[in-house]
Amino acid sequence: MCYHWQQSDNQIQHSRIGLGWWAVWLILLLLLNGCGERAWNAPYPSSESKSNTLYSSFDERPKHLDPARSYAANEYAFIAQIYEPPLQYHFLKRPYELVPLAATEVPKPHFLDQAGNSLPDDVSTDQIAFSEYEIVLKPGSRYQPHPALATREEGGFLYHQLTPETIAKLNTLADFSEAGSREVTSDDYIYQIKRLANPKLHSPIASIMSEYIVGFSEFSKTLASASSTNSEDRGGSDGFLDLRKFQMEGVTKLDRYRFKIRLRGKYPQFVYWLAMTFFAPMPWEADLFYSQPGLEKRNISLNWYPIGSGPFMLTENNPNLRMVLSRNPNFRGEQYPQEGEADDVALGMLADAGKPLPLIDKAIYSLEKEVIPRWNKFLQGYYDTSGVSSDSFDQAVKFGAGGEASLTDEMVARDIKLATAVETSIFYLGFNMADPVIGGDSEENRYLRQAISIAVNFEEFISIFRNGRGVVAQGPLPIGIFGSRAGLDGVNPVVFDIENGKPKRKSLDEARALMVKAGYPNGKSAKTGKPLVLNYESASAGPDSKAQLNWMRKQFKQLGIQLVIRATDYNRFQEKLRKGTGQLFMFGWNADYPDPENFLFLLYGPNGKVAHAGENAVNYDNAEFNRMFDQMKNMDNSPERQRIIDKMVDILRHDAPWIWGFYPKGFSLYHSWYGNVKPNLMANNTLKYKRIEPELRNQRQQIWNPPIVWPLIVLFVLIVVTVIPAVMVYRRHERSAAR
């Protein structure tokens, strides 16, 4: 009897467990399904499925969103949409052309002599003492709604005297209930230029601007002394320094919409700077608002919450998770460009011509640090666009017989599109010219560098590590920058021969012959008989670094040189460059503006890293080159300038301070619902041109992501099946125990 009762009790328990399980599954399914509108694996709420929103990702949290400090591509992705500098690059036209943005026209320099008298435009460079740029703003630009601008009805600002109790309750800027706005004036542009000079802000372009803008460095010094006395009277708690009280000599307000900047000498590259967010307007109210003590502790600062007049504003700022840009309701308005390059009409780039910008309402950037999830989410349709990493490359792109890139059938089936462009940047392998073994001006060491330049086969590097996404560099100037030469004229004769009308890398035998001349036959010193050992500094860490380092060793081994990899962290790597203790290293440079000066200055002697803490990381110093650089840098683009650049490049190729690595090629993929994609490597503010078709996107997402449930059911059945023998054993056990 006893065991009967127990058995039935157990059965009840079993069925209860079964019921419980089904209930759990049901709840799970409901939760997953949400409202049933969206695929299960959608990483966004279903309510957003049909909004006019762009989805993208960022892989590293930005460091500075303050326009005076920000100087990195991942930061520009956000702030270039928010802040409006006077100029911008034309979205469609190539070569890159500056067009007005907040200004009414691209300013022309006006030359003056030492006494301040006007000079004609065609005057020779050495007579010019100053040049003046007058910037005329479009009226009617307004700032985004922002609490710093919120005013009381009776006058005065609402949030400029916050109490510590209010501040303690704040978490984000959205916690302020009121927001205000006002028109952008020339004062705000001037205020921002003054901020660039503020030593507290450490603007990265402060040093270069102090060379040119009249009164800039004096202004810095005034501020430095003013802020030190200031902080003493106020006990250092309140950091606000009203820059309006101080005047900068070279920057003058003409009226509400006009101001002028006076530069020393002639500096034609200055207009390019005016297209960067460094020169965007900044209301003094914001500076005062953010300087209230305690806000910094809540991460509410200009560095994290921009205030701009551009098409978008940052509405959600959580660099740990996502950043959201929304349409700025106060945006002055701008139209999609009416004209472009010849084939832009055929490509549909002008379909939106004349429409008011921005075309989308919102852009959501999610933090995505790992490459694999990002790529998979793109394939599932949850990101509208994606770069192509080396490892997913073969899945996406194939090369035609002539080497042209096209999409694989899988991508074509999904209507994915490809955009490619050669970037205005260069990756190079630098020889530290201050090193006695590898650097210097001696003939032997030059042979050694040339030999290595031949042996390190960057074509292979590009094909293995970048899947052909790059062009072998023939010199320091990337394709598309004035002064670079395309085709066979541009081939570097030190490394390449021309065979059958194609450049062909010189053979290893030639490199070995150069090694003999350099005094290292078979990689062994002719004097000591010891093998040549070189050090390669590397800061790279990551899944691919091991393969790359091995590849690099393989290249040097071909000449009998043993390459010692000195892997280290980035700080240490930088320190080695600064002290000049490294020998070989790989480095890159991304253009600030499309001018050859921005590349050639990397090899200009007075920019030497060790001696002058400049950007010349290899410490190359050639008197002839330096002389020609001085001559070239302030010239307008002309055949004369081209001639000088050609000569400079020839010197560089012969001296071989760099192995001219490669110019990377950007490949980006985008879905069919994502429109107006034309790579523009200079402009960062292109979000406003982008178009999205949310209906199509949602439909595709549903088709591509059907949940597959049967494995779960199989698993469940399997568990049940394995439980059966256990239950049988249990019963037998109980029976025997009962006896």
């Binding site: 939760l31 990195a72 450490h202 740990n320 640090k369 597959i708 054993v729 056990h733």
Partner: protein, 325 residues
Amino acid sequence: MIAYIIRRALYAIPILLGVNILTFVLFFVVNSPDDMARMNLGMKRVTPEAIENWKAERGYDKPLLFNQSSQGIEQLTDTIFFQKSLKLFQFDFGSSDSDRDIGYDISQRMWPSLAIAIPVLLVGLLVNITYALLIAFFRATYIDIWSVVLCVVMMSISGLFYIIGGQYLVSKLLHLVPISGYDTGLSAIKFLILPVIIGVIGGIGSGTRWYRTLFLEEINRDYVRTARAKGLSEVVVLFRHVLKNAMIPILTGVVVVLPLLFMGSLITESFFGIPGLGSYTIDAISRQDFAIVRAMVFLGSVLYIIGLLLTDISYTLVDPRVRLS
């Protein structure tokens, strides 16, 4: 009892001081103020003056441990150690290289970490105990032997494999949950299911084996034999006696890890893109943001010490005799 707790808490102070000095030495040997300035100021166009300015502004231009140019007590207080490191005791972690307040970030990122760690702990406990009880019930049969072998096999597979494999299978092939990401509130659930399941599976091997030994130890005790001799069924014996008595070591084992749940799981979080403290730490390590790493070291130590304290207290509560020794 209270006096005892106070005594134990006071004992933590020298330990924290030791940790503080150790981390300070470690991190300032690695990361000179110059490096910090450089990381903060970015890569392009940084001048030495800018670095000097930066250091002066934030008080990193002082000597590390001993200031010879000052007078009296200031020789010790006017140093980087005194000004920066001792502030950790007030949980003032300073700002990171990207100019964000670390304390604020920690308070924000703690919640996602807990959202994974707590379910993993609870579900894991439930699964492991159930499984271990089953094995204990079927002890010395083929089920026991093969279950133990299965546990060892599961223990021998690297945790990375569970994550890589799980993500590939469930998210990429079956489209059941999002590959990675996070959201606030209830919608976080669909992002958390997979990491939690993987966390639980990864822990089954060692957990079950440990609980099984605990149960077997109890089963062989005399009181259990007596209970069984009284004719109680095996299930009752297992639940009423074995489980109840084995709960003491199980719970004290759990108490130790409780505070450390805040620290999050390093690998899982960075794989699934969950903005918790684990991925915060990993990021900081890979970006060499020493201020964050230092803060996390200190936080970890504090939590560990709290864990020890809690264990002591729970032992005392369970068995008052311990207090005497």
